[in-house]
């Protein structure tokens, strides 16, 4: 016969006002198998917990029901107390008489009757509870960081400086991300390259960091603490160990007219290239799509001129696998384009801005390259069409952003600030030039941000016009900007020499693929979802996977770096222990009755179900059965429902237990 204790909590007036706790305890005492029952003002308090512990010892309880708040709130508390009294914690359950009862009832009679039912139900369940032990999984103390922008770099350095190994994976030929393309950064105007390059070099030389550039994620397997990742190292066609980075090959390559990705099409690059001179690693790659040798089978000029003999035309992609315990995703963002809507996209372009075909209308990233001392114009303001110095420049904010008509509802957060920076940089370079900014709002929340905006207006003479721009077209070598200033209520027409659009920040175009490979959630725009918008901003719903930087939402550098350090701290926290503990409420398969239909395998959202071979002593296959991986199963219960032969049980929530609960209500 069971020996169960029931403890009814008043939660001050929270429960006590609409549930007669004393009566509930009294009724509970009458349930067969209940040997102890009491009520108390605050069960979660120390004296409350002590009451439970004492009762367990004195009455030799073999099951505990706490009728109180939601298990979300205090299940851990009470299970810990129960364990301290020497009882298996999984023999204790909570009956939610607060959220599910007192908070939703007005009438004390109704509330009390329902609370009694809820307690009865839980008592019947607890009678069938089995002792369970938490699952312990070992932790591989090596992290994978995906994306080598400033966020990925920061996360990798922090983890490595915490004395743990890091694999830093970057798909471009160099790390650096968008920050390496920026000229100077708000609100301090320090040079982006100058503050980033030292970090890039540190990454490359850190003994704890394995840097894989020009590489892509192929597959992620396993679970928290025990991931296996497969990575494709794309063939660079250059031997990294031999190349000295002299750059002769790039000078000699006869292909010269490939639009440079790094300079956003404002300059050209050869077929063998490094994205920019400060690239890390400083080893070129051959762009096979544009290399004459790969297209026509003839050329090899680079090979002829390469002193150390580093060119390897026959190099092939290589697949490497690593075991890692945690993953930091830092894949960053991409920039919206005003060009025509790509097929399948839900985001449209700006026909009214000529779909990007008007010369001298450039986007913000192109402006960064124009303003950069290492850019195609060495930092001189020259417009693309004729190289002339633009004397009137119009900047347009919120292009794509905050525009449901184009398919984007959100604010991109960073563009107000980089636009004011752009206008300021322009005024510093062209003293007799005019800078106009068309804006809807100036979002300058951030340390010293508002002051930065005021400085542009008051000291540099930047003119803000409050209104969107409805149309751009070319006339007599100028760009006609048709906008408005809603503050004066007028239409504004500016004949500009150059126009700069502050395009929206988008998720990476392949972010959904990446998310699916790793098994994390994303929002409708493709930004990765954090576990909790306030309280768990760097975690994801998948244990062991963390987020850093603009892949989660538009962010500026300080925020991206802060989140990266946060993610690194989470990883180091995880790596501080040798084994992780996980809830034992997982699915188990009855191998005798399993018919190997594998419905469970198909339905499991966490890929926790595996096929297992049962063999006889000679190693001959007897049959296949389903097997649940303890590390991966999240205890969602889908497979239990799917199994046609009823061969799967969820520990802690067995059919027997659930039926006992229902029966208790039916009585």
């Amino acid at each position: 016969m069971a020996r169960i204790g029931v403890f009814v909590c008043h939660c001050g007036k929270n429960i006590g006002a609409t549930v007669d706790c004393e009566r509930v305890a009294g009724e509970a005492a009458k349930i067969p198998g209940v040997v102890h029952s009491e009520n108390y003002l605050y069960m979660c308090s120390d004296p409350g917990q002590l009451k439970i512990k004492d009762a367990i010892r004195d009455k030799k309880l073999d099951g505990v029901v706490v009728a109180a708040c939601s298990p979300h709130m205090h299940e851990r508390t009470f299970r810990r107390a129960v364990a301290e009294a020497g009882l298996n914690p999984y023999l204790a359950e909570m009956s939610n008489v607060r959220e599910h009862c007192s908070w939703v009832h007005q009438d004390i009679e109704d509330g009390t009757a329902k609370a009694i039912d809820l307690v009865r139900v839980m008592v019947e369940k607890v009678k069938l509870n089995q002792p369970l032990t938490p699952i312990r999984v070992p932790v591989t103390k090596r992290a994978l960081v995906i994306g080598g922008g400033v966020a990925g770099i920061q996360a990798a350095l922090d983890i490595a400086n915490g004395e743990r190994d890091v694999i830093l994976l970057e798909r471009d030929p160099s790390i650096g991300g968008h920050m390496s393309q920026l000229s100077e950064t708000f609100p301090t105007l320090d040079c982006s390259q100058c503050i980033l390059t030292p970090k890039m070099v540190e990454v490359a030389s850190h003994p704890r960091i394995t840097l894989l550039t020009y590489s892509e994620l192929e597959e992620v397997d396993g679970y928290v603490g025990n991931f296996q990742v497969k990575i494709r190292k794309k063939a660079r066609s250059v031997d990294m160990d031999v190349c000295t980075g002299c750059g002769v090959c790039m000078e000699k390559c006869p292909v010269k007219k490939i639009p440079s990705e790094f300079n956003v099409g404002l300059s050209m690059r050869p077929a063998i290239y490094t994205p920019f001179p400060q690239a890390v690693p400083n080893v070129p790659v051959i762009d096979k799509e544009n290399c004459i040798y790969y297209i026509k089978g003839k050329c090899k000029v680079c090979e002829k001129f390469c002193g150390p003999g580093a060119i390897r035309f026959d190099q092939e992609d290589e697949i490497v696998t690593y075991d890692v315990g945690a993953i930091v995703v830092a894949t960053g963002y991409s920039l919206y384009s005003v060009g025509e809507k790509p097929p399948g996209s839900t985001i449209a372009g700006y026909g009214e801005y000529g779909y990007g075909n008007i010369p001298d209308v450039i986007d913000a990233l192109q402006f960064e390259r124009l303003a950069s001392a290492s850019g195609p114009t060495e930092g001189h303001m020259r417009r693309p069409s004729d190289g002339a110095e633009p004397k009137t420049v119009a900047f347009i904010q919120c292009v794509g952003s905050r525009c449901p008509e184009k398919g984007i509802t959100y604010c991109s957060k960073i563009c107000c600030m980089y636009t004011v920076k752009h206008a300021m940089l322009y005024k510093h370079k062209v003293h007799d030039g005019d800078a106009y900014i068309f804006y809807m709002d100036i979002r300058s929340g951030g340390k010293n941000y508002e002051e930065f905006v005021r400085r542009a207006i008051e000291e540099d003479g930047v003119v803000y016009l409050r209104g969107r721009v409805s149309r751009l077209y070319r006339k007599d070598g100028k760009v006609i900007v048709r906008g408005a200033d809603t503050l004066s209520g007028t239409q504004v027409e500016i004949a500009a020499d150059m126009v700069v659009t502050a395009n929206a920040t988008l998720a990476q175009p392949d972010s959904q693929d990446v998310a699916q490979k790793i098994g994390i959630a994303y929002d409708k725009y493709g930004f990765f979802s954090e576990k909790h918008p306030k309280l768990a901003p760097v975690e994801t719903n998948t244990a062991g996977v963390f987020l850093a930087g603009a892949c989660q939402a538009p962010k500026d550098i300080p925020e991206a770096v802060a989140q990266a350090s946060g993610a690194a701290a989470k990883v180091l926290e995880m790596f501080a222990v040798d084994e992780l503990e996980r809830e034992p409420t997982i699915a188990v398969v009855n191998e005798d009755t399993c018919v190997a239909c594998f419905f469970c395998k198909r339905i499991c959202p966490y890929s926790a179900v595996e096929e297992k071979e049962i063999k006889d002593r000679d190693g001959n296959l007897i049959k296949l059965v389903s097997h649940v991986n303890e590390g991966l199963c999240q205890g969602c219960g889908l497979c239990v429902v799917a199994c046609p032969s009823k061969s799967i049980e969820l520990l802690g929530f067995t059919d027997e237990q659930l039926f006992a609960e229902i029966n208790a209500l039916a009585e």
Binding site: V469, A484, V492
Partner: protein, 196 residues
């Protein structure tokens, strides 16, 4: 100018009146000015379309209905096409013209309404448009006897103006439509007045 809020700020009757016609809430407008920016007639308007939408949002009926804007709008749909918030500004302009006429607001610009009247009168009479009649009557009504007087012969000698109207065989039905429209519109404004 002053906007006084005498009591609790509720959505005004006027705002609701406009919204009932356009079938959309004007609260979507975030005053970005795109409509004013692209409006081909903005230079001639006393308030750009963005201001007019603001008046509607705040229930400033007299300001909206006495502006020349609503009669200067060319119904080109540029604003509606480009509004980032998908507000049907052209529809709002229509709604304001309709309300102004129904409620006999003094129309600043007789020319447009005169033309509308004659145009619709022609449809009622002939079932179709009768162009020379339209131009002639219009110039009479607006007392611009010699306006565009040179264009008439140009058209006439090109064989583009017919002296006799083309009638639709459906004239009787057309008159019936006009009659029922009148009833329907009266009923729907009465309905709205009743609700308000």
């Amino acid at each position: 100018m002053q906007l006084k809020v005498p009591g609790p700020m509720v959505v005004s009757d006027f705002t609701q009146q406009v919204e009932a016609i356009i079938g959309q809430s004007v609260s979507k407008c975030y005053q970005c000015g795109n409509c004013t920016a692209g409006c081909p007639a903005a230079p001639e308007m006393d308030f750009g379309p963005q201001r007019i939408i603001r008046f509607v949002q705040l229930g400033l009926k007299d300001l909206a209905l006495t502006s020349n804007t609503i009669w200067t709008c060319a119904s080109c749909v540029t604003c509606t096409t480009r509004c980032p918030q998908e507000v049907d500004i052209t529809g709002v302009m229509d709604a304001l013209r309709i309300i102004a006429q129904r409620e006999h607001y003094p129309v600043q610009d007789r020319y447009v309404t005169a033309l509308n009247d004659i145009f619709l009168g022609n449809i009622r009479t002939f079932g179709r448009q009768y162009e020379i009649g339209l131009i002639g009557k219009y110039n009479l009504r607006t007392r611009q006897f010699f306006k565009d007087v040179m264009l008439g012969p140009k058209l006439f000698f090109k064989g583009k103006l017919k002296l006799l109207p083309h009638r639709s065989g459906n004239v009787r039905e057309v008159r019936e439509i006009f009659r029922r429209v009148k009833e329907e519109s009266a009923a729907s404004s009465a309905n709205r007045a009743g609700r308000a």
